[in-house]
Amino acid sequence: MTNTQKPKIGIFSLTGCGGDQLMILNLEPILLDLLSRFEIKDFQEASSYKEEEAELDIALVEGSVSTKTDLEKLKKIRERSKMIIAIGDCAIGGCVQAMRNGQMSMEERMRKVYGVDVDYYDVLEPKGISSYVNVELEIPGCPIEKSQVLHAITSLLHGDMPEEIDYPVCVECKLNGYPCLLVEKGLPCLGPIITAGCDARCPGLGLDCIGCRGPIRDESNVAAELEVLLEKGYDEEYILNRLRFFGGNFEDIQKLTKRISEKSKGRRNSHEEDS
Protein backbone atom coordinates (compact mmCIF):
# COMPACT_ATOMS: atom_id res chain seq x y z
CA MET A 1 0.00 0.00 0.00
CA THR A 2 2.94 2.31 -0.33
CA ASN A 3 1.96 3.26 -3.85
CA THR A 4 0.57 6.70 -4.31
CA GLN A 5 -3.00 5.52 -4.53
CA LYS A 6 -4.93 5.83 -1.35
CA PRO A 7 -6.12 2.59 0.15
CA LYS A 8 -9.84 2.06 -0.30
CA ILE A 9 -11.54 1.56 2.97
CA GLY A 10 -15.02 0.73 4.23
CA ILE A 11 -16.24 0.97 7.79
CA PHE A 12 -19.14 -1.33 8.57
CA SER A 13 -21.18 -2.31 11.52
CA LEU A 14 -23.17 -5.40 12.31
CA THR A 15 -24.94 -5.84 15.64
CA GLY A 16 -23.44 -3.79 18.40
CA CYS A 17 -23.52 -0.41 20.05
CA GLY A 18 -21.61 1.53 17.42
CA GLY A 19 -18.89 2.29 19.92
CA ASP A 20 -15.94 1.29 17.81
CA GLN A 21 -16.92 3.49 14.90
CA LEU A 22 -17.53 6.20 17.44
CA MET A 23 -14.03 5.74 18.84
CA ILE A 24 -12.71 6.42 15.37
CA LEU A 25 -14.81 9.57 15.21
CA ASN A 26 -13.47 10.40 18.65
CA LEU A 27 -10.01 10.85 17.21
CA GLU A 28 -11.11 14.47 16.81
CA PRO A 29 -7.77 16.29 16.57
CA ILE A 30 -6.53 14.10 13.75
CA LEU A 31 -9.77 12.74 12.35
CA LEU A 32 -9.78 14.69 9.11
CA ASP A 33 -6.11 14.07 8.50
CA LEU A 34 -6.61 10.39 9.17
CA LEU A 35 -9.64 9.98 6.94
CA SER A 36 -8.00 11.97 4.15
CA ARG A 37 -5.40 9.24 3.82
CA PHE A 38 -8.02 6.81 2.63
CA GLU A 39 -10.59 6.65 -0.06
CA ILE A 40 -13.71 6.03 1.97
CA LYS A 41 -16.18 3.85 0.17
CA ASP A 42 -18.63 3.20 2.95
CA PHE A 43 -19.07 4.64 6.42
CA GLN A 44 -22.73 4.36 7.26
CA GLU A 45 -22.52 6.07 10.62
CA ALA A 46 -20.80 9.18 9.28
CA SER A 47 -21.59 9.47 5.61
CA SER A 48 -24.35 9.03 3.06
CA TYR A 49 -21.81 8.42 0.38
CA LYS A 50 -21.23 4.85 -0.55
CA GLU A 51 -20.12 2.66 -3.40
CA GLU A 52 -21.69 -0.65 -2.73
CA GLU A 53 -19.76 -2.67 -5.22
CA ALA A 54 -16.38 -1.04 -4.83
CA GLU A 55 -13.47 -3.30 -4.03
CA LEU A 56 -11.88 -2.52 -0.72
CA ASP A 57 -8.34 -2.78 0.49
CA ILE A 58 -9.46 -2.68 4.07
CA ALA A 59 -12.83 -3.32 5.65
CA LEU A 60 -13.18 -2.39 9.28
CA VAL A 61 -16.06 -4.36 10.68
CA GLU A 62 -17.61 -3.79 14.06
CA GLY A 63 -20.45 -5.70 15.64
CA SER A 64 -21.35 -9.32 16.06
CA VAL A 65 -23.13 -11.60 13.66
CA SER A 66 -26.51 -11.83 15.39
CA THR A 67 -28.95 -12.15 12.53
CA LYS A 68 -29.03 -13.72 9.12
CA THR A 69 -28.97 -10.21 7.68
CA ASP A 70 -25.69 -9.60 9.49
CA LEU A 71 -24.28 -12.76 8.03
CA GLU A 72 -25.29 -11.90 4.48
CA LYS A 73 -23.84 -8.46 4.87
CA LEU A 74 -20.62 -9.87 6.24
CA LYS A 75 -20.25 -12.31 3.38
CA LYS A 76 -20.65 -9.51 0.89
CA ILE A 77 -18.03 -7.49 2.68
CA ARG A 78 -15.67 -10.44 2.62
CA GLU A 79 -16.12 -10.87 -1.10
CA ARG A 80 -15.15 -7.32 -1.89
CA SER A 81 -12.36 -6.81 0.64
CA LYS A 82 -8.72 -7.74 0.56
CA MET A 83 -8.43 -7.47 4.29
CA ILE A 84 -10.98 -7.57 7.06
CA ILE A 85 -10.17 -6.05 10.39
CA ALA A 86 -12.53 -6.93 13.19
CA ILE A 87 -12.80 -3.92 15.46
CA GLY A 88 -14.10 -4.39 18.96
CA ASP A 89 -15.23 -7.28 21.08
CA CYS A 90 -18.56 -7.74 19.32
CA ALA A 91 -16.76 -8.54 16.10
CA ILE A 92 -14.22 -10.72 17.87
CA GLY A 93 -16.09 -12.76 20.42
CA GLY A 94 -19.66 -11.50 20.42
CA CYS A 95 -19.21 -9.27 23.49
CA VAL A 96 -21.95 -8.94 26.11
CA GLN A 97 -24.70 -10.16 23.84
CA ALA A 98 -22.97 -13.54 23.74
CA MET A 99 -23.01 -13.74 27.53
CA ARG A 100 -25.76 -16.36 27.63
CA ASN A 101 -24.67 -18.35 24.62
CA GLY A 102 -25.10 -22.00 25.36
CA GLN A 103 -27.05 -21.09 28.48
CA MET A 104 -30.21 -19.46 27.19
CA SER A 105 -31.82 -20.20 23.84
CA MET A 106 -32.63 -17.43 21.41
CA GLU A 107 -36.35 -18.27 21.78
CA GLU A 108 -36.12 -17.76 25.47
CA ARG A 109 -34.40 -14.41 24.99
CA MET A 110 -37.09 -13.39 22.52
CA ARG A 111 -39.78 -14.38 24.95
CA LYS A 112 -38.19 -12.53 27.83
CA VAL A 113 -37.75 -9.25 26.05
CA TYR A 114 -40.58 -9.15 23.53
CA GLY A 115 -43.00 -11.51 25.15
CA VAL A 116 -43.37 -13.45 21.92
CA ASP A 117 -41.96 -16.63 20.56
CA VAL A 118 -41.83 -15.50 17.00
CA ASP A 119 -38.39 -14.89 15.66
CA TYR A 120 -38.90 -11.56 13.93
CA TYR A 121 -35.29 -11.11 13.14
CA ASP A 122 -33.92 -14.43 11.97
CA VAL A 123 -31.67 -14.24 14.96
CA LEU A 124 -28.51 -16.24 15.31
CA GLU A 125 -26.62 -16.87 18.49
CA PRO A 126 -24.25 -13.87 18.57
CA LYS A 127 -20.75 -14.65 17.43
CA GLY A 128 -17.65 -12.87 16.29
CA ILE A 129 -17.09 -12.57 12.57
CA SER A 130 -14.19 -14.99 12.45
CA SER A 131 -16.69 -17.75 13.19
CA TYR A 132 -17.97 -17.21 9.67
CA VAL A 133 -15.31 -15.63 7.52
CA ASN A 134 -11.57 -15.30 7.44
CA VAL A 135 -10.36 -12.29 9.39
CA GLU A 136 -6.92 -10.82 8.88
CA LEU A 137 -6.66 -8.79 12.05
CA GLU A 138 -8.53 -8.29 15.28
CA ILE A 139 -8.40 -5.14 17.38
CA PRO A 140 -9.95 -5.96 20.73
CA GLY A 141 -11.80 -3.75 23.17
CA CYS A 142 -15.23 -2.65 24.24
CA PRO A 143 -14.66 -0.17 22.86
CA ILE A 144 -11.37 -0.31 20.96
CA GLU A 145 -8.60 1.96 22.16
CA LYS A 146 -7.83 4.95 19.99
CA SER A 147 -4.11 4.45 20.38
CA GLN A 148 -4.38 0.95 19.01
CA VAL A 149 -6.50 1.90 16.05
CA LEU A 150 -4.00 4.55 15.25
CA HIS A 151 -1.10 2.17 15.60
CA ALA A 152 -2.88 -0.31 13.37
CA ILE A 153 -3.64 2.32 10.79
CA THR A 154 -0.14 3.75 10.66
CA SER A 155 1.25 0.23 10.39
CA LEU A 156 -1.13 -0.61 7.58
CA LEU A 157 -0.35 2.60 5.74
CA HIS A 158 3.27 1.63 6.09
CA GLY A 159 2.37 -1.73 4.64
CA ASP A 160 2.81 -3.74 7.82
CA MET A 161 0.49 -5.69 10.01
CA PRO A 162 0.44 -4.09 13.43
CA GLU A 163 1.85 -5.90 16.41
CA GLU A 164 -0.87 -7.46 18.47
CA ILE A 165 -0.91 -7.40 22.24
CA ASP A 166 -1.22 -10.83 23.77
CA TYR A 167 -0.34 -10.27 27.39
CA PRO A 168 -2.76 -9.65 30.24
CA VAL A 169 -3.85 -6.46 31.97
CA CYS A 170 -1.68 -7.23 35.04
CA VAL A 171 1.33 -6.21 32.97
CA GLU A 172 -0.05 -2.73 32.52
CA CYS A 173 -0.99 -2.52 36.20
CA LYS A 174 2.63 -3.18 37.04
CA LEU A 175 3.99 -0.77 34.45
CA ASN A 176 1.79 1.87 35.99
CA GLY A 177 2.50 0.78 39.55
CA TYR A 178 -1.18 0.30 40.43
CA PRO A 179 -1.70 -1.66 43.63
CA CYS A 180 -3.18 -5.06 42.85
CA LEU A 181 -6.88 -5.22 43.68
CA LEU A 182 -6.99 -8.99 43.58
CA VAL A 183 -4.03 -9.56 45.87
CA GLU A 184 -4.57 -6.64 48.21
CA LYS A 185 -8.32 -6.31 48.41
CA GLY A 186 -9.51 -9.67 47.20
CA LEU A 187 -11.59 -8.00 44.50
CA PRO A 188 -12.65 -10.32 41.67
CA CYS A 189 -10.34 -8.76 39.10
CA LEU A 190 -10.14 -10.52 35.73
CA GLY A 191 -6.92 -8.75 34.81
CA PRO A 192 -4.79 -11.90 34.85
CA ILE A 193 -6.71 -13.44 31.96
CA ILE A 194 -7.73 -10.40 29.93
CA THR A 195 -5.93 -8.96 26.93
CA ALA A 196 -4.10 -5.79 27.82
CA GLY A 197 -4.03 -2.63 25.77
CA CYS A 198 -6.33 -0.45 27.85
CA ASP A 199 -3.41 0.62 30.02
CA ALA A 200 -5.22 -1.00 32.95
CA ARG A 201 -7.90 1.65 32.98
CA CYS A 202 -10.09 0.05 35.61
CA PRO A 203 -7.47 -0.88 38.19
CA GLY A 204 -6.13 2.62 37.68
CA LEU A 205 -9.47 3.92 38.90
CA GLY A 206 -9.61 1.41 41.72
CA LEU A 207 -11.98 -0.89 39.88
CA ASP A 208 -11.57 -4.58 39.26
CA CYS A 209 -11.30 -5.48 35.59
CA ILE A 210 -14.49 -6.97 34.16
CA GLY A 211 -12.73 -8.22 31.11
CA CYS A 212 -13.97 -5.88 28.43
CA ARG A 213 -11.08 -6.70 26.11
CA GLY A 214 -11.76 -10.40 26.22
CA PRO A 215 -9.55 -13.31 27.24
CA ILE A 216 -6.36 -14.07 25.35
CA ARG A 217 -6.92 -16.80 22.85
CA ASP A 218 -5.03 -20.05 23.53
CA GLU A 219 -3.35 -18.49 26.49
CA SER A 220 -5.66 -17.33 29.27
CA ASN A 221 -5.87 -19.69 32.21
CA VAL A 222 -9.55 -19.27 33.06
CA ALA A 223 -9.65 -22.36 35.24
CA ALA A 224 -7.06 -20.75 37.48
CA GLU A 225 -9.14 -17.58 37.66
CA LEU A 226 -12.10 -19.61 38.86
CA GLU A 227 -9.96 -21.32 41.49
CA VAL A 228 -8.48 -18.08 42.73
CA LEU A 229 -11.84 -16.36 43.00
CA LEU A 230 -13.46 -19.33 44.69
CA GLU A 231 -10.72 -19.18 47.24
CA LYS A 232 -11.42 -15.50 47.78
CA GLY A 233 -14.96 -16.46 48.69
CA TYR A 234 -16.97 -15.73 45.57
CA ASP A 235 -19.58 -18.25 44.55
CA GLU A 236 -19.54 -20.14 41.31
CA GLU A 237 -22.49 -18.45 39.70
CA TYR A 238 -21.10 -15.04 40.44
CA ILE A 239 -17.71 -15.90 38.99
CA LEU A 240 -19.17 -17.59 35.98
CA ASN A 241 -21.42 -14.63 35.19
CA ARG A 242 -18.40 -12.45 35.41
CA LEU A 243 -16.25 -14.62 33.18
CA ARG A 244 -19.10 -14.64 30.71
CA PHE A 245 -19.66 -10.88 30.55
CA PHE A 246 -17.28 -10.72 27.63
CA GLY A 247 -16.27 -14.34 27.31
CA GLY A 248 -19.45 -16.22 26.46
CA ASN A 249 -17.93 -17.52 23.26
CA PHE A 250 -14.50 -18.22 24.66
CA GLU A 251 -13.90 -21.91 24.48
CA ASP A 252 -12.41 -22.48 27.89
CA ILE A 253 -15.17 -20.48 29.55
CA GLN A 254 -17.79 -22.53 27.78
CA LYS A 255 -16.09 -25.69 28.99
CA LEU A 256 -16.04 -24.32 32.50
CA THR A 257 -19.72 -23.44 32.31
CA LYS A 258 -20.54 -26.93 31.22
CA ARG A 259 -18.46 -28.51 33.91
CA ILE A 260 -20.04 -26.40 36.60
CA SER A 261 -23.61 -26.74 35.41
CA GLU A 262 -23.20 -30.50 35.17
CA LYS A 263 -21.75 -30.57 38.61
CA SER A 264 -24.58 -28.54 40.08
CA LYS A 265 -27.10 -30.66 38.23
CA GLY A 266 -25.48 -33.70 39.73
CA ARG A 267 -25.67 -32.09 43.13
CA ARG A 268 -29.32 -31.24 42.69
CA ASN A 269 -30.16 -34.74 41.55
CA SER A 270 -28.43 -36.31 44.47
CA HIS A 271 -30.31 -33.96 46.78
CA GLU A 272 -33.55 -35.06 45.24
CA GLU A 273 -32.61 -38.66 45.71
CA ASP A 274 -31.71 -37.97 49.29
CA SER A 275 -35.04 -36.47 50.17
Binding site: Y167, N176, C180
Partner: protein, 336 residues
Protein backbone atom coordinates in the same frame (compact mmCIF):
# COMPACT_ATOMS: atom_id res chain seq x y z
CA UNK B 1 33.85 6.00 59.06
CA UNK B 2 30.58 5.63 60.90
CA UNK B 3 28.25 8.36 62.05
CA UNK B 4 25.03 8.75 63.91
CA UNK B 5 22.05 10.79 62.81
CA UNK B 6 19.88 11.62 65.81
CA UNK B 7 16.21 11.07 65.06
CA UNK B 8 15.33 14.74 65.49
CA UNK B 9 17.79 15.62 62.70
CA UNK B 10 16.13 13.46 60.07
CA UNK B 11 13.87 16.31 59.06
CA UNK B 12 16.84 18.63 58.57
CA UNK B 13 18.74 15.99 56.64
CA UNK B 14 15.70 15.64 54.43
CA UNK B 15 15.78 19.37 53.78
CA UNK B 16 19.47 19.06 53.01
CA UNK B 17 18.78 16.28 50.55
CA UNK B 18 16.14 18.36 48.85
CA UNK B 19 18.82 20.89 48.06
CA UNK B 20 20.72 18.20 46.20
CA UNK B 21 17.80 17.34 43.98
CA UNK B 22 14.38 15.70 43.84
CA UNK B 23 13.91 13.23 46.65
CA UNK B 24 12.12 9.93 46.08
CA UNK B 25 11.09 7.84 49.03
CA UNK B 26 8.65 5.12 50.04
CA UNK B 27 5.09 6.38 50.38
CA UNK B 28 2.10 4.36 51.44
CA UNK B 29 -0.26 4.20 48.48
CA UNK B 30 -2.77 1.58 49.55
CA UNK B 31 -3.57 -0.92 52.26
CA UNK B 32 -0.66 -3.15 51.45
CA UNK B 33 1.43 -1.20 49.02
CA UNK B 34 4.18 1.31 49.17
CA UNK B 35 5.74 3.00 46.23
CA UNK B 36 8.79 5.15 45.70
CA UNK B 37 7.40 8.56 44.87
CA UNK B 38 8.70 12.06 44.68
CA UNK B 39 8.21 13.63 48.10
CA UNK B 40 8.28 17.18 49.30
CA UNK B 41 8.19 16.65 53.01
CA UNK B 42 9.42 14.01 55.36
CA UNK B 43 5.89 13.55 56.65
CA UNK B 44 4.94 11.89 53.37
CA UNK B 45 7.68 9.32 53.80
CA UNK B 46 7.18 5.99 55.51
CA UNK B 47 10.60 4.59 56.35
CA UNK B 48 9.02 1.75 58.32
CA UNK B 49 7.77 0.11 55.15
CA UNK B 50 8.52 -3.52 54.40
CA UNK B 51 8.71 -3.46 50.63
CA UNK B 52 7.32 -1.52 47.72
CA UNK B 53 5.43 -3.42 45.05
CA UNK B 54 7.51 -1.95 42.26
CA UNK B 55 11.19 -1.99 43.19
CA UNK B 56 13.34 1.10 42.75
CA UNK B 57 14.81 -0.38 39.58
CA UNK B 58 12.04 1.68 37.98
CA UNK B 59 14.20 4.77 38.30
CA UNK B 60 17.01 3.25 36.30
CA UNK B 61 15.30 1.01 33.76
CA UNK B 62 12.02 2.81 33.35
CA UNK B 63 8.82 0.80 32.96
CA UNK B 64 8.35 2.57 29.66
CA UNK B 65 10.75 4.93 28.03
CA UNK B 66 11.50 6.49 24.72
CA UNK B 67 14.88 5.43 23.40
CA UNK B 68 14.89 8.11 20.76
CA UNK B 69 12.66 10.05 18.45
CA UNK B 70 13.26 9.89 14.75
CA UNK B 71 12.51 11.73 11.60
CA UNK B 72 13.00 9.51 8.59
CA UNK B 73 12.75 12.30 6.10
CA UNK B 74 15.58 14.24 7.65
CA UNK B 75 17.49 11.06 8.47
CA UNK B 76 17.62 12.20 12.06
CA UNK B 77 17.04 10.83 15.43
CA UNK B 78 17.12 12.58 18.74
CA UNK B 79 18.16 10.93 21.94
CA UNK B 80 16.07 11.62 24.93
CA UNK B 81 17.76 13.85 27.42
CA UNK B 82 17.91 12.62 30.95
CA UNK B 83 16.80 15.33 33.31
CA UNK B 84 20.35 16.08 34.44
CA UNK B 85 21.19 17.05 37.99
CA UNK B 86 21.19 14.78 40.95
CA UNK B 87 18.28 12.80 42.39
CA UNK B 88 18.06 11.20 45.76
CA UNK B 89 16.44 7.90 46.58
CA UNK B 90 15.88 7.74 50.27
CA UNK B 91 14.99 4.54 52.03
CA UNK B 92 16.16 1.70 49.81
CA UNK B 93 16.47 -1.64 51.52
CA UNK B 94 19.51 -3.87 51.30
CA UNK B 95 17.79 -6.37 49.00
CA UNK B 96 16.93 -3.68 46.48
CA UNK B 97 20.42 -2.22 46.62
CA UNK B 98 21.82 -5.67 45.94
CA UNK B 99 19.21 -6.17 43.24
CA UNK B 100 20.45 -3.08 41.50
CA UNK B 101 23.93 -4.54 41.49
CA UNK B 102 22.62 -7.49 39.52
CA UNK B 103 21.18 -5.12 36.97
CA UNK B 104 24.42 -3.12 36.94
CA UNK B 105 26.21 -6.25 35.85
CA UNK B 106 24.11 -6.43 32.71
CA UNK B 107 23.68 -2.73 32.04
CA UNK B 108 27.06 -1.29 32.90
CA UNK B 109 29.76 -3.88 32.90
CA UNK B 110 29.43 -4.76 29.24
CA UNK B 111 28.26 -2.38 26.51
CA UNK B 112 27.01 0.17 28.98
CA UNK B 113 23.48 1.37 28.49
CA UNK B 114 23.81 5.11 28.33
CA UNK B 115 20.51 6.00 29.93
CA UNK B 116 21.04 3.56 32.72
CA UNK B 117 24.57 4.75 33.36
CA UNK B 118 23.54 8.37 33.48
CA UNK B 119 20.74 7.68 35.88
CA UNK B 120 22.90 5.54 38.05
CA UNK B 121 25.54 8.19 38.23
CA UNK B 122 23.15 10.99 38.91
CA UNK B 123 21.37 9.24 41.73
CA UNK B 124 22.27 9.32 45.37
CA UNK B 125 21.13 6.21 47.15
CA UNK B 126 20.41 6.26 50.83
CA UNK B 127 19.66 2.87 52.27
CA UNK B 128 17.64 2.19 55.37
CA UNK B 129 17.49 -0.87 57.58
CA UNK B 130 14.37 -3.00 57.75
CA UNK B 131 12.59 -5.73 59.60
CA UNK B 132 11.87 -8.91 57.65
CA UNK B 133 8.35 -10.25 57.32
CA UNK B 134 7.20 -13.76 56.50
CA UNK B 135 7.97 -13.28 52.80
CA UNK B 136 11.54 -12.07 53.19
CA UNK B 137 14.36 -14.55 52.61
CA UNK B 138 17.08 -12.15 51.58
CA UNK B 139 19.36 -13.51 54.26
CA UNK B 140 19.34 -16.90 52.55
CA UNK B 141 20.30 -15.21 49.32
CA UNK B 142 23.08 -13.25 50.93
CA UNK B 143 21.33 -10.01 50.18
CA UNK B 144 20.18 -8.92 53.62
CA UNK B 145 23.14 -6.66 54.05
CA UNK B 146 24.41 -4.10 51.57
CA UNK B 147 28.17 -4.02 51.48
CA UNK B 148 28.25 -1.46 48.72
CA UNK B 149 26.02 -0.04 46.03
CA UNK B 150 24.79 2.86 48.18
CA UNK B 151 26.02 6.26 49.16
CA UNK B 152 24.73 6.32 52.72
CA UNK B 153 23.05 3.61 54.72
CA UNK B 154 20.91 4.40 57.75
CA UNK B 155 20.53 1.68 60.36
CA UNK B 156 17.88 2.42 62.88
CA UNK B 157 19.03 2.52 66.49
CA UNK B 158 17.33 3.84 69.59
CA UNK B 159 18.41 7.44 69.25
CA UNK B 160 18.25 7.69 65.52
CA UNK B 161 20.28 6.12 62.78
CA UNK B 162 23.67 4.52 62.70
CA UNK B 163 25.09 5.71 59.39
CA UNK B 164 27.45 3.87 57.09
CA UNK B 165 29.13 5.75 54.29
CA UNK B 166 29.35 3.92 51.01
CA UNK B 167 30.85 6.43 48.64
CA UNK B 168 32.48 9.78 48.22
CA UNK B 169 29.13 11.21 47.24
CA UNK B 170 27.82 9.96 50.54
CA UNK B 171 30.68 11.46 52.42
CA UNK B 172 30.01 14.80 50.80
CA UNK B 173 26.44 14.73 52.07
CA UNK B 174 27.74 14.17 55.56
CA UNK B 175 30.22 16.98 55.21
CA UNK B 176 27.69 19.40 53.86
CA UNK B 177 25.33 18.59 56.69
CA UNK B 178 27.99 17.98 59.27
CA UNK B 179 26.08 19.68 62.05
CA UNK B 180 23.37 17.02 61.81
CA UNK B 181 25.66 14.07 62.35
CA UNK B 182 27.51 12.92 65.41
CA UNK B 183 30.34 10.52 65.73
CA UNK B 184 29.25 7.02 66.56
CA UNK B 185 29.87 6.17 70.17
CA UNK B 186 30.81 2.77 71.49
CA UNK B 187 27.22 2.25 72.62
CA UNK B 188 25.92 3.15 69.19
CA UNK B 189 28.20 0.59 67.62
CA UNK B 190 27.14 -2.04 70.08
CA UNK B 191 23.52 -1.29 69.42
CA UNK B 192 24.06 -1.49 65.68
CA UNK B 193 25.69 -4.88 66.10
CA UNK B 194 22.98 -6.07 68.41
CA UNK B 195 20.28 -4.97 65.95
CA UNK B 196 21.99 -6.74 63.10
CA UNK B 197 22.20 -9.89 65.15
CA UNK B 198 18.57 -9.66 66.12
CA UNK B 199 17.52 -9.03 62.54
CA UNK B 200 19.47 -12.07 61.40
CA UNK B 201 17.59 -14.18 63.88
CA UNK B 202 14.20 -12.86 62.99
CA UNK B 203 13.95 -14.40 59.53
CA UNK B 204 11.04 -16.79 59.34
CA UNK B 205 11.70 -17.95 55.82
CA UNK B 206 14.82 -19.70 54.69
CA UNK B 207 16.09 -21.25 51.51
CA UNK B 208 19.20 -23.32 51.24
CA UNK B 209 20.99 -22.20 48.13
CA UNK B 210 24.00 -24.43 48.22
CA UNK B 211 24.15 -26.28 44.94
CA UNK B 212 20.92 -24.67 43.81
CA UNK B 213 22.29 -24.44 40.28
CA UNK B 214 22.72 -28.18 39.97
CA UNK B 215 19.44 -28.83 41.73
CA UNK B 216 17.71 -26.77 39.07
CA UNK B 217 19.55 -28.52 36.31
CA UNK B 218 18.50 -31.86 37.77
CA UNK B 219 14.91 -30.70 38.02
CA UNK B 220 14.61 -29.98 34.32
CA UNK B 221 11.89 -32.61 33.93
CA UNK B 222 10.45 -32.28 37.42
CA UNK B 223 6.63 -32.46 37.63
CA UNK B 224 6.62 -29.18 39.57
CA UNK B 225 6.71 -27.21 36.34
CA UNK B 226 3.58 -28.79 34.93
CA UNK B 227 1.77 -28.63 38.21
CA UNK B 228 2.61 -25.00 38.74
CA UNK B 229 1.70 -24.19 35.15
CA UNK B 230 -1.87 -25.26 35.91
CA UNK B 231 -2.17 -22.58 38.55
CA UNK B 232 -0.09 -19.91 36.87
CA UNK B 233 -1.73 -17.14 34.85
CA UNK B 234 1.40 -16.27 32.95
CA UNK B 235 0.64 -12.67 33.83
CA UNK B 236 4.22 -11.55 34.25
CA UNK B 237 3.70 -10.03 37.68
CA UNK B 238 6.56 -12.01 39.21
CA UNK B 239 9.00 -10.56 36.71
CA UNK B 240 7.71 -7.05 36.75
CA UNK B 241 7.92 -6.70 40.52
CA UNK B 242 11.33 -8.37 40.75
CA UNK B 243 14.26 -6.11 41.58
CA UNK B 244 16.61 -8.13 39.40
CA UNK B 245 14.44 -8.85 36.37
CA UNK B 246 15.31 -6.55 33.53
CA UNK B 247 13.98 -8.00 30.30
CA UNK B 248 12.62 -5.39 27.98
CA UNK B 249 10.70 -5.24 24.75
CA UNK B 250 11.03 -2.61 22.05
CA UNK B 251 8.40 -1.16 19.77
CA UNK B 252 8.27 1.65 17.23
CA UNK B 253 5.45 4.11 16.94
CA UNK B 254 4.97 6.43 14.00
CA UNK B 255 2.88 9.49 13.50
CA UNK B 256 0.28 9.69 10.83
CA UNK B 257 2.78 11.25 8.44
CA UNK B 258 4.70 7.96 8.63
CA UNK B 259 7.92 9.89 8.94
CA UNK B 260 8.24 10.92 12.52
CA UNK B 261 7.97 8.66 15.47
CA UNK B 262 9.72 7.12 18.38
CA UNK B 263 11.26 3.90 19.51
CA UNK B 264 10.06 2.81 22.92
CA UNK B 265 11.15 0.17 25.30
CA UNK B 266 9.13 -1.26 28.12
CA UNK B 267 9.61 -3.93 30.73
CA UNK B 268 9.00 -7.38 29.39
CA UNK B 269 8.52 -10.66 31.17
CA UNK B 270 9.72 -14.14 30.34
CA UNK B 271 6.35 -15.45 31.52
CA UNK B 272 4.62 -13.86 28.54
CA UNK B 273 3.91 -15.78 25.40
CA UNK B 274 5.92 -13.69 22.98
CA UNK B 275 9.11 -13.77 24.98
CA UNK B 276 10.49 -16.81 23.23
CA UNK B 277 8.71 -16.48 19.89
CA UNK B 278 10.67 -16.20 16.67
CA UNK B 279 9.94 -16.14 12.98
CA UNK B 280 7.73 -18.82 11.53
CA UNK B 281 5.71 -19.09 14.73
CA UNK B 282 8.43 -21.12 16.41
CA UNK B 283 8.39 -20.57 20.15
CA UNK B 284 11.29 -21.72 22.28
CA UNK B 285 9.13 -21.53 25.38
CA UNK B 286 5.67 -22.26 23.99
CA UNK B 287 3.79 -23.01 27.21
CA UNK B 288 3.81 -21.88 30.80
CA UNK B 289 5.68 -25.06 31.64
CA UNK B 290 8.81 -23.97 29.79
CA UNK B 291 8.37 -20.38 30.85
CA UNK B 292 8.12 -21.19 34.54
CA UNK B 293 11.09 -23.46 34.33
CA UNK B 294 13.06 -20.79 32.58
CA UNK B 295 12.19 -18.18 35.15
CA UNK B 296 13.16 -20.28 38.13
CA UNK B 297 16.34 -21.41 36.42
CA UNK B 298 17.23 -17.86 35.59
CA UNK B 299 16.59 -16.73 39.16
CA UNK B 300 18.70 -19.52 40.58
CA UNK B 301 21.57 -19.12 38.17
CA UNK B 302 24.73 -17.20 38.76
CA UNK B 303 25.30 -14.57 36.13
CA UNK B 304 28.56 -12.74 36.48
CA UNK B 305 28.92 -14.40 39.84
CA UNK B 306 25.70 -12.92 41.14
CA UNK B 307 22.57 -14.77 42.05
CA UNK B 308 19.56 -13.48 40.14
CA UNK B 309 17.33 -13.40 43.20
CA UNK B 310 17.79 -11.29 46.28
CA UNK B 311 14.99 -12.84 48.31
CA UNK B 312 12.77 -9.79 48.54
CA UNK B 313 9.60 -11.92 48.51
CA UNK B 314 7.75 -9.76 46.02
CA UNK B 315 7.05 -12.44 43.45
CA UNK B 316 5.33 -14.60 46.01
CA UNK B 317 3.44 -11.81 47.71
CA UNK B 318 2.13 -10.22 44.52
CA UNK B 319 1.38 -13.35 42.53
CA UNK B 320 -2.37 -13.36 41.86
CA UNK B 321 -2.24 -17.17 41.81
CA UNK B 322 -0.32 -17.31 45.08
CA UNK B 323 2.54 -19.30 43.64
CA UNK B 324 5.24 -19.55 46.28
CA UNK B 325 8.78 -19.03 45.02
CA UNK B 326 10.52 -20.54 48.02
CA UNK B 327 8.19 -23.53 48.18
CA UNK B 328 9.00 -24.39 44.59
CA UNK B 329 12.71 -24.00 45.09
CA UNK B 330 12.44 -26.27 48.12
CA UNK B 331 10.57 -28.88 46.15
CA UNK B 332 13.29 -28.80 43.57
CA UNK B 333 15.84 -29.44 46.27
CA UNK B 334 13.77 -32.37 47.39
CA UNK B 335 12.98 -30.77 50.72
CA UNK B 336 9.68 -31.77 52.26
Amino acid sequence: MYKVLPKENLQSLFEGLRKIGDVYAPVKISGLSHDFRKVNSISEVDLEYTRTMIPPKKFFVKPRETLFEFDEEKLQYAEVQNGGGLNVILGMHACDINGLKVIDAAYINENPDKYYMQRRESTLIIGVSCTPDEYCFCRSMGADYAVDGFDLFLHEIGRGYFVRIGSEKGLRVIEENSSLFEDASKEDIEEFKENERRKAESFKLELDISGLQDMLDLAWDHPVWEETAEECFGCGTCNLVCPTCRCYDVADYVELDLKRGERLRRWDSCMLRKHGLVAGGLNFRPTRVERLRNRFNCKGSLVNGLLNCVGCGRCTLYCPAEIDFVKIMKRIRGEP
